[in-house]
Symmetry: C3
Subunit: 435 residues, 3 copies
């Protein structure tokens, strides 16, 4: 595929285009491994330069080993009258992830032990997996389950669980320095929109923007199956990541229109955390602050003791906190172009803040004479202009210790508004970059 | 006496037995020194292995010297009609502690200068001492004092103040390590129950429990007269204590049924403080937090500059804060089996928390695969079970820096509930003990 | 001048005398440079030993160079009828500071470009300067400006702008140690009382008091034109100041009777800040706490990165925060003897706190036996006397780390009340001075 650039104009807000990509990826049956993952990576690879890597079943990765590869061609249940009452083709959530193959006839009682439904969300199909114990099962709306008649059912799952590979994608975007921002998202859930596709799609569009923009920092994006994928990635890249990553985000649950939220890294005060809080404080001050106790995605690996990467999360409705989570209700109606666009904007600002977050030192002792540089009014009156004040504050706190986020926080000015003043003062020789 | 074990079954709550011992010790006239102290130590020595030490009058102990030994056989006042209106036999609080001997006849005016009563508690006998200036005096209810007739009074105090010894008791309970928990209580007050006997009695029963229980830490219990006793003990043992003591409690005012309270060490964040706050936060969240400014017992010595031991206090009604304090109203009605039992339970939990308070490091990078160890459900659903969550949190914060109290505080789980999970994970090789 | 001592009795409150000096200095036309500054320094030199220094125009001082010297003999505007409607003799605020000489006839339209008034304070003459761009101008009440008739005006400014000197004064008051308290105030504003004369006058009277009092610390007082003067002073004395100054205050806006305020140093927790907060907390608990973002006087230089002196400000109505600021309304009616006296008292207390702010270490392990030194009651009762408590607390916290301000803050006792106890305990050999 050579068509790697999106059709929209680079300066157009990508909300609609992102939603389009979510829609295209939605029907694919992804899991920890298998053809669905590969197909998803191929589609993302049409948008950005993506290296796809494959790790063999049985490879030891930290305390784990890469599981067998799972693929599924179809599955259904026929009721006692021979009517197909449930079909994988209708919704891939109908089959428990990693179900072993089955072709059997059972009584309703026997079947019940393989069924999963939610009494509190009776119209939703739950999302269930069994990666590390071999079993099979079906998921269905609770209302449907209650209406099942007694009798003999015919169940078929045409799946395959065998040695193969775990697939993941990686996109490196080099900048001026070796310091990296690490962006991780996951590609292991079947048809769910917020808690899955919003993540890889926004990551893809951020990569497009980064590729087209001047950048100081390098960016490392990974598209991995959750947990086993991040563990696999860490086991192969830990030393490099510990040496180079200055900030990171786990990108998940960024597609709906509900309130923004933030989940800290374990350390809690890394540049990733500080940029996220800074951006949300200014742009969405009502955002929810979760704690690390509320974690539940790949920060569990990235922030684990001994790994200790500075990875935080900016989300809309956090996994586990919204009723649609891990059900068929987390669908193309729950995620919207507007919701995606908002999260994209926030993450983009976080990145801009990280790019601007230098430590400066004022080069002159005492205040410099700004007036002879045309940066200060020559007529003293009772007021000081706001922009002069911002410049003076920047100089006053540029002590070689405070970074730009810290100065922005002290002064109450968004870092992205301070950054141009820092550039002006640096061009005048009044600020030196310490790091 | 060979009968060193209590009669109750080891697993019975010791509230009643403790109250029985308080009752037995109540009538004895204790003071800084003398036969009352020795008799008290003998009775406690029936319960636990107690080494009694004697320090000679005049021994220099830091800035102090050990005072003369005081003993009293009897004392009374006869009114102008020859009627004995006050007798030491009725209540040993009637005589000012360390009163010099006297046998004299005085006018009421002359007598008044030797009388002590409380206008605001007119029915109580106050507790008064004069350890470091020689004088004599009587204490009586204010109502009685107001009714004294004019005329000549006959006063007799049959006491003796002469070179002798200061006596104290020490009980060492060795554990697996040389690290010690230091438990101090005092035995220098005459017939008062909360601000005296509740302390040595609970300490004694804690010693019995510790002797019967497996223990990692060693325990050093001292039964000393307040102030001069703790100073004497410190002057003989300071280097050992500074080297070995990891936590300590001054045990006093632990017998009534009113609200629990905590008084910090001077440093304020020692393991003793942290265990006390942790236990009270979970078991008695309405407890009073005093500050070190409110101190008034032997923590004054243990936490003094240069001594700096990690000694905190867990109490019910703190000395100086309840109306009955230092009067005849602090009696066997104020202290109860239930009150004693509650304090015993809290102090026991503090000790259990200290025993469990290790620093762990997760041995695996990333989360370990709990499911293959039967510690994690193999079927993913929308919820995580509470016990799994506790185990995951323990692993997530076991970074070789946080101790168990810190992890318990972060996670909001009592340390005594986390401890068994730590044991399980350690047995699985997933946690290593750092210290 | 040999008459260096004030006429009032040294123990009289200096409020009236300070106000007298403000009145005497009020009419003088001060600016960054010139005869007005010299005359002001001469009058202050009658009160205290003041060394006057002169720095040549063009001297490089950090990023700045010393400006030309400005002097003015007179200035007026005549209206089209030849009537003198504005005269420098009436109020020196009428002329824009550093106005170049002019003798011209202009239309009202042309004149308007050189006029300054305040629509929101129509009866006030604003204070305007143009130090670093050559121009001329007049300031007048807005009501007067609105009534100007069309026609030809005659404007004369008989001023001179030429190479000369910048003048400033310095007063050194040596103490027992080389550690210095740095007190800076400014002398560059024409007839304004709070935002100018209250500062140098209180500084002068503090110097008189310091000269007459025993003192541990040395004091360095400077009377400089704002900004360029402090930059000049720093450029000549930076290494000495960085080595010796332990605390400093910028003395400004200390003459009115409104609420007290405090503006921190950039570091925010220096001895200067801590003494100011401690004094105001106890004496004027409703005081306003500005932040360093609200700065606007010479702390801008003293606290700039690389200079980093511990300089805070204690004020009444802060520059920029009161309507009369930088207008003719900041006059002898706004500043009062009572206002000056109150600020003098607060700054004097700050100095006393700095003098007393030693770090002590208790010399005895455990509490010392105060009773044998007559410092503790020999009869124990239920209460401890307040003064005994203060002494015990002082000993308890004298650990060689806490300074007196810290102990005073912990105990809630003003440092000036603790200081005599510290002296008593030091005389008894119970406290040693660590630093």
């Amino acid at each position: 595929m050579s068509q790697r650039r999106p059709e929209r104009h680079p300066s157009d807000p990508p909300g609609q285009a992102m939603y389009g990509l979510v829609k295209r990826l939605f029907p694919i049956c992804r899991s920890l491994t298998g053809e669905g993952v590969r197909q998803t990576l191929r589609i993302l690879g049409e948008q950005i330069p993506l290296q796809v890597l494959e790790v063999e079943t049985g490879t030891q990765v930290f305390d784990w080993s890469v599981p067998k590869e799972w693929n599924i061609r179809g599955a259904f249940i026929e009721d006692p009258r021979g009517k197909r009452i449930l079909d994988f083709k209708d919704n891939n959530l109908h089959v428990v992830g990693y179900s072993t193959p089955v072709d059997a006839r059972l009584t309703l009682e026997e079947l019940q032990e393989h069924l999963h439904s939610l009494a509190d969300l009776p119209d939703a199909i739950p999302y269930i997996t069994s990666y590390y114990a071999e079993r099979w099962g079906f998921c269905l709306p609770h209302t449907q389950r209650l209406n099942l008649e007694k009798g003999e059912y015919h169940v078929v799952i045409d799946s395959e669980l065998k040695d193969g590979h775990l697939s993941y994608g990686e996109c490196l975007i080099p900048g001026e320095t070796a310091e990296e921002v690490f962006l991780s998202t996951y590609i292991c859930h079947p048809s769910m929109a917020n808690n899955e596709l919003s993540g890889p799609v926004i990551a893809t569009f951020l990569a497009q923007w980064l590729l087209s923009a001047p950048r100081r920092l390098s960016y490392r994006m990974v598209f991995v199956p959750e947990t086993i994928g991040s563990i696999t990635y860490l086991s192969k890249n830990l030393q490099h990541l510990k040496r180079n990553v200055v900030a990171g985000f786990n990108i998940t649950c960024v597609g709906d229109e509900r309130v923004y939220s933030y989940l800290p890294s374990r350390a809690g005060n890394t540049p990733a955390d500080r940029s996220a809080i800074h951006v949300l404080d200014h742009t969405h001050p009502g955002f929810i602050r979760w704690t690390y106790l509320d974690r539940g995605s790949d920060e569990r690996q990235y922030c684990s003791p001994g790994v200790d990467l500075p990875v935080a999360s900016v989300m809309r409705s956090k996994y586990g906190s919204y009723p649609e989570y891990h059900t068929s209700l987390d669908n193309l109606g729950f995620v919207t172009p507007t919701g995606l666009q908002g999260s994209y904007d926030v993450l983009q600002k976080c990145i801009l803040v990280l790019e601007a977050n230098r430590v400066y030192r004022a080069t002159s002792l005492g205040e410099p004479q700004l007036s002879r540089r045309g940066l200060y009014p020559t007529l003293s009156t009772r007021d000081t202009k706001e922009q002069v004040r911002k410049m003076m504050d920047l100089l006053a706190y540029a002590d070689g210790e405070n970074d730009l986020i810290e100065i922005a926080t002290i002064t109450g000015v968004p870092a992205w508004e301070l950054a141009p003043y820092a550039e002006t003062l640096r061009a005048e020789g009044l600020l030196a970059v310490v790091r």
